[in-house]
């Protein structure tokens, strides 16, 4: 059901392409490091949010793209990370760097617990359960007012750049988020290379066959759920750092749905899918209101449909096709 190329491909890559790829990566890395010095703070903030969404989508990609399971409750784990961070900083007075691993661990644990029903459900049913969880979370956060600040939420101080760096606040947040995103990519990469990744692909491609071949189905589905929650929790932590404010109404079911839409549009199971999805989630709503001030939702909804129409395998699939034909032209020329 998902995009089946892109990852887990083995075999030698032609030397020319390897060199191209290396160069492109170097250039991209340089551009990414140079960006916050060239752009106005507002653009830097936008890129920071793209990275936050990217981290969340890396997790969702693990579950949906590689694990073949549908989650409409990813925003709930995002909220767990965001609120966990806010509570640790607000009530516990913890220094912010500690909150990232802590929030990720909390989300992982909750994902593991909620993964119990997930191991027994799939497809439509898992989607419904996760949707109900996402809806239920909002009143739940409001109920425990003394801890969560209730419907007013919690306001926090943003991480300050250390004096030695000479950076502005937005630049510092950008580099923090960038480092976390690269770390997430690395963790994700090694996960997929491990037995977990192979088991996930086996389950996705044919659940029954995988079980017959001795893959511990329940265990791996549960782990996929937990890992995915961990990335969402980490992204939620970054969100709290960047925005400095959490409130229940920031984490409605719309967030979960937007994240899933972003991932499918970016490209399921594709390496660059989460980044492209993050870009879509960040920039397309702004673009929509530039096109039509009266009803930006009309344009946003239309764009989702049109992208799916043009690129049923997501933007990553489209980019790969484009790169492929470009490569062919290059070889001919």
């Amino acid at each position: 059901m998902a995009e089946r190329r892109g990852t887990g491909r083995r075999g030698p890559v032609p030397a020319v392409r390897a060199r191209w790829r290396g160069l492109l990566l170097t250039a991209a890395l340089l551009a990414v490091c140079a960006a916050p010095f060239q752009l106005v703070p507002f653009r830097v903030f936008q890129l920071t949010m793209v990275l936050v969404y990217t981290v969340a989508l890396i997790g969702l990609n693990l579950l949906v793209g590689h694990g073949g399971q549908i989650s409409l409750g990813h925003g709930a784990f995002f909220a767990v990370g965001a609120y966990g961070t806010a509570i640790m900083m607000f009530h516990g007075g913890w220094p912010y760097p500690v909150t990232l691993p802590a929030a990720a661990a909390v989300a992982f644990a909750i994902g593991l617990a909620l993964g119990v029903p997930a191991t027994r459900l799939h497809g439509l049913y898992l989607a419904l359960v996760t949707l109900a969880i996402a809806i239920f979370l909002v009143p739940l956060l409001k109920r425990f007012e003394s801890v969560t600040g209730g419907s007013m939420g919690l306001t926090l101080a943003k991480p300050r750049p250390p004096a030695w760096s000479g950076l502005a606040e937005d630049q510092w947040l950008y580099f923090l988020t960038l480092a976390a995103a690269l770390l997430a990519l690395a963790v994700n990469h090694s996960l997929l290379r491990s037995r977990v990744g192979r088991a996930l692909h086996a389950v996705r491609d044919n659940e029954t066959a995988a079980e017959v071949m001795g893959v511990r189905l329940a265990f791996h589905k549960r782990m996929a759920f937990a890992w995915s929650a961990m990335f969402a929790g980490a992204a939620g932590c970054l969100y709290t750092w960047v925005i400095g404010f959490v409130s229940p109404d920031s984490f409605t079911v719309n967030l979960s749905i937007t994240l899933l839409a972003g991932l499918v549009i970016g490209g399921l199971g594709a390496t660059w899918g989460p980044l492209l999805g993050g870009l879509f989630v960040m920039f397309v709503p702004s673009l929509s209101q530039d096109v039509n001030k009266a009803a930006p939702g009309v344009i946003f909804g239309l764009l989702i449909i049109v992208v799916m129409y043009v690129a049923p395998t997501g933007l990553a699939g489209l980019v790969r096709r484009a790169a492929h034909s470009f490569g062919r032209t290059l070889r001919k020329g």
Partner: protein
């Protein structure tokens, strides 16, 4: 080989630019004044123009409020076209959509301030979006004027001098109803339906505090979520309390549902107080006017649906100019009148500013003295001070009769009756 060379060159060029621009360039486009107002910020304002930016939910579930900027735009277009602008400057009003999402509001606030280079943020809508942006506005020293939310913190917080509310805060509104009950129904037993968010809780708490120590008591409370399909079950539970007053703290759709449920519950006939947010004729009409007779509420600006303002000069002007400058928008929608009144308030504040600078606007908005705004009810004026960040704190009670609201009693000034609102 060729490929490596190109890539290497590109990488070197990138490295060079990065190194060269280790920090940001000094010129970020901001300007300052000379002369009497020397050193104050004049970004976004010239002798001819003034740029403002507003953030509203134009998409998503709170889109109903997206009508407010239409009234504002119509007002500014009118003064630009016929009155030479605000204090001689044409107003350029940019509206951005945040979908009622705090992170989006932060992004749009930064866009307006850093890219559009607005002079001031004129209205951000909703408590979450305003909370997410006010630190930024105050760090950048950009006025965030007349935010469209009634949370009490805009007025009582002292660390954010650049942010100020406009409409009566929800605590004050709660006090108005308490004051009314103390004289009309001194032993009232009150049942409350409230929206489970900052707005509902603020109003309920204001009311609760104001009735403390009196014989008015709250006997039952029920909340609802905006995602609930209906408040009918809550209304049924409230009816079991046999309270003799019902306080309806809801937003329009749920307000209509609660009014309809009250009419349907024939065994329970309390005095029905509906809060201002849900008191518009547009909320009452779908319920059927015969079902809402005798309902009371409070208001502070003129409802365009109310026939008693048909001959009012400001209302005539509003209706004519809405038709002219916002032809697609229905002048009967109260959100438009709300926007019009807020824009008029900005106009008066800007005219009162001693310096045409951000600092000048900040000082003016914190020094409003009995300023009349024709769209507000007679007797309701703008009044602020260095420690008082609540421009409107007076409301007048009204009762629904026939097909319209009838104002009754004096304008209730909650400052006089209860003292200042504290955080």
């Amino acid at each position: 080989m060729r490929v490596t060379a190109i890539g290497g060159a590109a990488a070197a060029a990138l490295l060079a630019t990065t190194a060269a621009c280790g920090g940001r360039g000094g010129d970020d486009g901001s300007t300052t004044a000379t002369g009497a107002c020397k050193g104050q910020q004049t970004t976004g304002i010239t002798d001819k123009t003034i740029k403002l930016g507003g953030i509203y939910p134009l998409s998503g579930p709170a889109s109903a409020y997206g009508d407010i900027p239409k009234g504002i735009k119509a007002y500014f277009d009118y003064v630009n076209g016929e009155k030479g602008g605000v204090a001689g400057r044409k107003v350029e009003f940019t509206v951005r959509d945040d979908g009622y999402q705090p992170p989006k509001a932060v992004e749009e606030a930064r866009r307006l301030v850093e890219q559009e280079r607005v002079f001031a943020l004129f209205q951000t809508l909703g408590t979450p979006s305003t909370t997410a942006t006010w630190d930024y506005a105050n760090q950048r020293k950009v006025p965030q004027i007349f935010v469209a939310t009634g949370a009490s913190k805009w007025g009582s917080d002292t660390r954010h001098p650049w942010t100020i509310g406009w409409q009566p805060n929800y605590v004050s509104e709660g006090r108005v109803y308490a004051q009314y009950l103390k004289t009309e129904r001194p032993a009232a037993r009150v049942a409350v339906l409230y929206q489970n968010d900052d707005f509902g809780k603020d109003l309920l708490n204001g009311f609760r505090k104001a009735v403390e120590g009196t014989r008015v008591s709250i006997v039952k409370e029920q909340s609802y979520e905006v995602s609930d399909p209906s408040v009918e079950p809550q209304m049924r539970n409230l009816a079991t309390s046999r309270a003799d007053v019902f306080l309806n703290i809801t937003t329009p759709k749920f307000g209509s549902q609660a009014l309809a449920a009250d009419a349907k519950l024939t065994g329970w006939n309390p005095l029905h107080i509906v809060n201002n947010v849900a008191a518009s004729i547009t909320t009452l009409r779908p319920v059927g006017f015969r079902n809402v007779q005798g309902v009371v509420s409070a208001n502070y600006y003129k409802d365009p649906n109310d026939p008693q303002w048909d001959d009012d000069a400001e209302m005539k002007l509003y209706k004519a100019k809405m038709k002219q400058y916002a032809p697609g928008a229905d002048p009967a929608v109260p959100y438009h009148a709300f926007g019009w009144a807020a824009a008029t308030s900005f106009h008066k504040t800007m005219e009162a500013a001693r310096c045409p600078t951000r600092e000048g606007l900040r000082d003016a908005m914190r020094g409003l003295n009995n300023v009349q705004v024709p769209m507000l009810l007679p007797g309701v004026t703008l009044q602020t001070g260095p420690d008082d960040g609540f421009p409107i704190e007076s409301m007048q009670m009204m009762r629904f009769k026939g097909e319209r609201w009838e104002l009754f009693g004096e304008v209730i000034d909650t400052r006089k009756a209860f003292g200042p609102v504290t955080g």
